[in-house]
């Protein structure tokens, strides 16, 4: 067999088989227990609803994806800046760290209405909510990356009379790249969750709706098949985000692994 095909099969076949088994079990359960469609629709019903509403689901996924990407991007920029400040002084790090943890522990569902109150109903608030939930992993990972230094590397720079700035630009920042990539991978999933939560509260108005609003709407009107379709779409979107960030990250860290 073609080795490339073989590898692709080895990669994709197991999860696809599992997926098929789950769908069959799902269908079997609905038929066996005679579950009403407003509680659990059959896979076929979900697929049909998804097909009927594919335009709305697609544009919803695009809108949600756009907001998540912007939120993630903002968290990368701000998170790296904060981590940079943290890495410059132990004192600043000690002073600021509890508030960074606050970002991690604050229930975003409780904060979201406040954000909307401050920034209004609309896209900007959703991006901000996504940004807030994505920020913490970027801060912690980047701070770790900037401050975890091989003592010999530090001595190497010192023997060569390197300045603080040279050490930062030529040692700490590039050395932090794998850590930033790891943080971004975690945040890629979180950013989608942040947008969905934001859209629950702010997705009204206009004629463009994100997946979060579709979920909210489908739930409120008991359109369970549609709800399932929207949830599955947002899961796929999260997977796509994760794959995208992982792909970019792998490109950035190719050299570390010795495969160019």
């Amino acid at each position: 067999m073609n080795p490339l095909l073989h590898r692709a099969l080895a990669l994709f076949l197991p999860p696809l088989v599992l997926f098929a088994l789950v769908v069959i079990a799902w269908n079997g359960a609905v038929v066996y227990w005679e579950l009403p469609p407003y509680l659990v629709p059959t896979p076929v019903a979900v697929l049909n609803v998804a097909k009927e509403n594919r335009a709305a689901l697609w544009s919803g996924a695009l809108l949600t994806g756009k907001a998540a990407l912007l939120g993630l991007l903002a968290s990368l920029v701000v998170g790296i800046l904060i981590a940079f400040v943290f890495s410059q002084s132990r004192l600043i790090q000690r002073a600021g760290y509890p508030y960074a943890i606050f970002l991690q522990t604050v229930p975003i569902v409780a904060i979201a209405p406040l954000i909307i109150l401050w920034f209004g109903h609309g896209f900007q608030s959703i991006v901000i909510i996504s940004f807030i939930v994505s920020l913490f992993p970027i801060i912690t990972n980047t701070t770790t990356g900037l401050t975890t230094l091989d003592p010999n590397m530090v001595e190497l720079f010192e023997v060569n009379n390197a300045t603080r700035l040279q050490r930062l630009l030529k040692l700490q920042l590039p050395g932090a790249v794998p850590y930033i990539v790891a943080g971004a991978r975690i945040s890629s999933g979180l950013s989608v969750i942040g947008v969905i939560v934001g859209e629950f509260f702010a997705g009204f108005g206009g004629n463009k709706f994100g997946l979060g609003y579709l979920i909210y709407f489908a739930n409120a009107t008991l359109k369970t098949s549609y709800l399932f379709a929207a949830v599955i779409s947002s899961t796929l979107l999260g997977l796509a985000m994760f794959a995208l960030i992982t792909g970019i990250g792998n490109l950035l860290t190719l050299r570390w692994r010795g495969t160019r």
Partner: protein, 262 residues
Amino acid sequence: MSFPPDSARQTSVTLEQVSLRFDRGVEALHDLNLRVGDGEFLSVVGPSGCGKSTMLRLVAGLLRPTSGSVHIGGDTKLAGRQTRRDISFVFQQPTLLPWRSVEKNVRLPLELRGRVGDEGRRRVAEVIDLVGLRDFARFYPAQLSGGMQMRVSLARALVTRPSLLILDEPFAALDDITRQRLNEELLALWGRDRFTAIFVTHNVSEAVFLSQRVVVMSARPGRVLAEVPVPFSFPRNAELRAEPDFARLTGDVSRTLRESFR
């Protein structure tokens, strides 16, 4: 074999009654006296934790002695920022930046000195050639074997034309054949440029093969227990290791070293 005198570049090192006590109260070195001559190749052996690495860091100006003094170059300059311009340090690990190619790793010390012009680029190519890695200039460290990584580390140390090369067990992690080959290469490089070299190792045979003098240090707190001159002429080659005189001298040093463990 004689070497052209190049007094402007040569560097001697003098440690006078150097003691160093770390903050935790551990005394790493006690009244250490050591002189390394211009262009001399000196090896230092001693039990683990005897302060060999600490001594090297004092010479490189990475640490300051609690008492005593460390002089570099004649008896005028104290170890520190100024003298570091002429010093290169080779660590036990290759200590390469994984995101930089061989070429760019070797270039780093020139970059840090703001000296990457055409001449710098020529020098980078030259030292990569010297360590036999011409075909690997664009490879990344992860693509190289341990021995090749150590060659890159050597090239990086030599790129600045140091007058003092400090080596802290650089070949300890390599297999024996690679180690022997690198010993021979290092010696050829030394014969070519005649920098002053201080080489710390656990391996007595390596110390005898490389150096003009072997210093045996005592267990902590470290001081000089014995100095053994190595009379073999240069250039030395692999056959030296098979000669009876080599075995005898290695035996002598080993015996002294064993005593130092007491």
